[in-house]
Amino acid sequence: MDDFQVTDRSIDLAAWRRRLDHPQGGGLVIFEGVVRDHHQGRAVRHLDYQGYAPLAVRTGQVILTAARSRWPLLAALGCHRTGHLEIGEAAVWIGTAAAHRAEAFAACAWIMDEVKARVPVWKRETFADGAVEWSQGTILRTEAPE
């Protein structure tokens, strides 16, 4: 099983959590990005994500590898949804395990920043008023993390 995955099915939160288990893992940090019911003051009905899966997975793996070289991690995992998502569904899941919590927190937050900047995934919002719009987004960052 790849440490970073892109899936068009519901993220299995419990299964991902189990993969963080490690006998030396004293601190586990999990981030879930969840579909909100509003965006910049407008009511959101649902989301659709597109992803360029092979490159998204490869970039995700590169990010996890870089995180492992920056912090002494026992586990670093991530998953990004594509397809149709309802309010409350998890769009992204990032999990880290380390002997001590500071490293697990720092790595988890950093991985998520990198995923947003570097993984080719696109969000389309369908608003309550019927409008359908691609999220403004940011230009894909290509340089390797230091």
């Binding site: 360029y52 992204v92 995934v121």
Partner: protein, 80 residues
């Protein structure tokens, strides 16, 4: 004439009306190919907002394209 596969995502997929196509092209670089597609299909995203990938690796705009390549122009991303 060399043929490449072009994949479309997000705004570009909407503008082109398909997620992928085979393109016979005289373009020799990724930049030339995007110019051709802009002219043919009225794509509106400026080059400076896009990143280009050939065969699942991000590359420079002046990278050469070859017969059989898969080329993707990646719009601004909004994951997470």
């Amino acid at each position: 004439m060399p043929e490449v596969t072009v994949l479309y995502f997000a705004h570009l997929r909407d503008q082109r009306g398909t997620d992928s196509e085979c393109v016979a092209t005289t373009a020799t670089t990724a930049r030339d190919l995007y110019c051709e597609l802009v002219q043919r299909h009225g794509l509106t995203l400026p080059e400076r907002t896009l990143i280009v990938a050939i065969n699942e690796a991000m590359v420079r705009w002046d990278s050469p394209i070859a017969d059989g390549d898969t080329v993707v122009f990646l719009p601004p991303v909004s994951g997470g």
